[in-house]
């Protein structure tokens, strides 16, 4: 998952912890502003004290958030590895409720990602800004982290494509087949033109059980 990308894929738990950290920082800053000037006779030192407190509280908040994020992701990753291993034995590729972006760190799965199994294009992290690819067959393509801003993908087949973490801002997806495409963590905006349900696909994260094609 790309660093700093969006945040739409963050879990509710992480968001709550982040809000908690921000709230703690705000309370701490309030205390500093109220108590700081009385702590020092020199106004310049008082300002320095408040600045120290603000920076320190922000640091503690961010450190807490990072620590929790790593803990949650590692826990998910370990669970995902166990579930994915079970799923593979049963002939399933995708499993409900698993944060699959963490599975990518599993080397055994990485060696045989889903898109390779289905012979799709290997296009992870490519730059396809403003690309004109109307009607192309990108079924099962590995497009993780790809930059697809302002690309013209009308009527493309993205069936089963791995679109986790892609940048879809301004992308024209009208008429695309997004059936079973994985859009977790993908960035999009008002300029993203989604296919209508009648086109055979719907925007959003698709995490239903899926048999081998």
């Amino acid at each position: 998952m790309q660093a700093g990308g969006g945040g739409q894929g963050e879990s509710r738990r992480e968001q709550q912890l982040l809000a908690l950290g921000v709230a703690a920082a705000v309370v701490g800053c309030g205390l500093l502003i109220v108590l700081g000037p009385d702590a020092f006779d020199d106004p310049a030192r008082a300002r320095l004290f408040i600045s120290w407190g603000l920076a320190g509280l922000v640091a503690v908040g961010l450190a807490t958030w990072l620590a929790v994020r790593v803990a949650v992701e590692t826990e998910d990753s370990e669970a995902a590895e166990r579930i994915a291993s079970l799923a593979e034995r049963r002939g399933l590729v995708k499993v409900v409720g698993v944060r699959e972006r963490d599975v990518e760190r599993n080397e055994s799965l990485r060696a045989t990602p889903r898109s390779q199994q289905a012979k799709g294009h290997q296009l992870a992290w490519v730059d396809l800004r403003k690309a004109a690819l109307q009607g192309r067959d990108l079924a099962n393509a590995d497009l993780r982290g790809a930059d697809l801003r302002d690309a013209d993908l009308r009527s493309c087949s993205l069936r089963g494509a791995d679109l986790r973490g892609t940048d879809l801002r301004g992308t024209d997806l009208r008429g695309c087949d997004l059936t079973r495409a994985d859009l977790e963590g993908a960035r999009h905006d008002a300029g993203t033109l989604w296919p209508s349900p009648a086109d055979g696909g719907e925007p959003g994260v698709h995490l239903e059980p899926q048999g081998p094609e």
Partner: protein, 356 residues
């Protein structure tokens, strides 16, 4: 022939770059001298116009050298982040903001001279370090989180102990450079990953050419940034380069100007046997400039009114001693009693005291 011409072009380019850099450093030296003399309440145009180029280059190089070294160190950190796989060496904006906040908090704690204040940034570092070592997601993730924090702590401590000249300007400049680099690193890392992945994808597709992939290859090879006119691209590059040198120059100059530590004391022994004591300002090919700077903040006292420069012809000088800590110089005074002062090393020849 073409190889020789190519070599000549490269040599000429290198010479032009060296001359340009020397001119830039000289300009910084002149700016520093101008601001120092102006801050001391003295007319700046006289010493700046008389000062030797070598002296201005040394002043400028001293100012810019430490910042170039700092840029190289932080540039190394930035390069290490940028060349990493974004999925493995994960350095996003939260990590960058954490490093910046730790640097500021450490710096302010040292500035307040209260060691217990280091507990707060220490707590932040401890939270990340303990979590990383206990969970240990991967070496790359742990390194990407902890290495920039280590740099931040080192920066804060180094600024507190080593900051020369104008401490506030030095600290602001160093934190600005550090902040700019760590905040740029995530975007640069993603950009590099996109470029590398695109090249690899094109190579893969071309290795097994299929007719239906031609449009995809063309789209991958069509870099949007290459679609802009070259004039626009070069104008942007020149503007960015100029902005870099301007910002670096402003930081270097302001960090060197501090009214309380700009000048050394000077003792000038003249060929007629007299001496001048004062503040050393500059030396030229044929003149030496010493001064009595303003000791006050412009309150119109009698002392301030006596601020003045003295330009002494080099031909009349036997010896110049420059000494003392960098402080606000020394009042300008002449003394006819130098002959008996042990500090004077060079004595006038007997019968050479024309003033006597």
């Amino acid at each position: 022939m073409s190889a020789a011409a190519d070599l000549a072009t490269k040599v000429a380019g290198a010479l032009a770059a060296i001359l340009g850099l020397a001119g830039y450093v000289l300009l910084l030296g002149a700016a520093i001298m101008w601001l120092r003399v102006h801050a001391a309440g003295l007319p700046p145009d006289v010493p700046v116009s008389l000062a030797a180029h070598e002296e201005l280059i040394v002043i400028g190089a001293q100012a810019v050298g430490v910042w170039v070294a700092l840029l190289l160190v932080f540039g190394g950190l930035g390069a290490w982040i940028v060349v990493g796989d974004p999925a493995e060496r994960r350095f996003g904006y939260p990590e960058a903001a954490l490093a910046l906040a730790v640097a500021l908090s450490v710096l302010f704690a040292f500035d307040l001279d209260l060691p217990w204040l280091l507990l707060l940034p220490g707590l932040a570092v401890a939270i990340v370090a303990v979590a990383m070592f206990v969970i240990w997601p991967s070496l790359e993730i742990v390194s990407a989180a902890l290495v920039p924090i280590a740099f931040a702590v080192a920066l804060g401590a180094a600024l507190a102990y080593l900051s020369p000249g104008n401490e506030a300007a030095s600290s602001a400049g160093a934190v600005l450079i550090f902040g700019a680099l760590v905040l740029l690193a995530p975007a640069l890392q993603r950009w590099r990953a996109h470029q590398e992945a695109t090249l690899n994808a094109v190579a893969r597709l071309k290795a097994q050419p299929r007719e239906e992939d031609e449009a995809l290859i063309a789209a991958l090879e069509e870099n949007p940034s290459q679609q802009r006119p070259k004039a626009v691209v070069w104008t942007e590059r020149i503007a960015l380069g100029a902005l870099f040198f301007v910002v670096l120059g402003v930081i270097a100059v302001t960090s060197q100007v501090d009214k309380q530590s700009d000048f050394h004391k000077a003792l000038v022994s003249l060929s007629n046997g007299d001496c001048l004591e004062g503040t050393y300002v500059a030396r030229g090919g044929e003149q030496l400039v010493i001064a009595q700077p303003s000791a006050s903040e412009g309150d119109g006292t009698k002392e301030e009114e006596r601020t003045r420069l003295a330009v002494v012809p080099v031909s009349e000088i036997l010896e110049v001693q420059i000494y003392g800590e960098r402080e606000e110089g020394q009042p300008l005074s002449d003394s006819a009693e130098c002959k008996g002062v042990a500090d004077v090393l060079v004595r006038p020849k007997p019968g050479d005291s024309s003033a006597e």
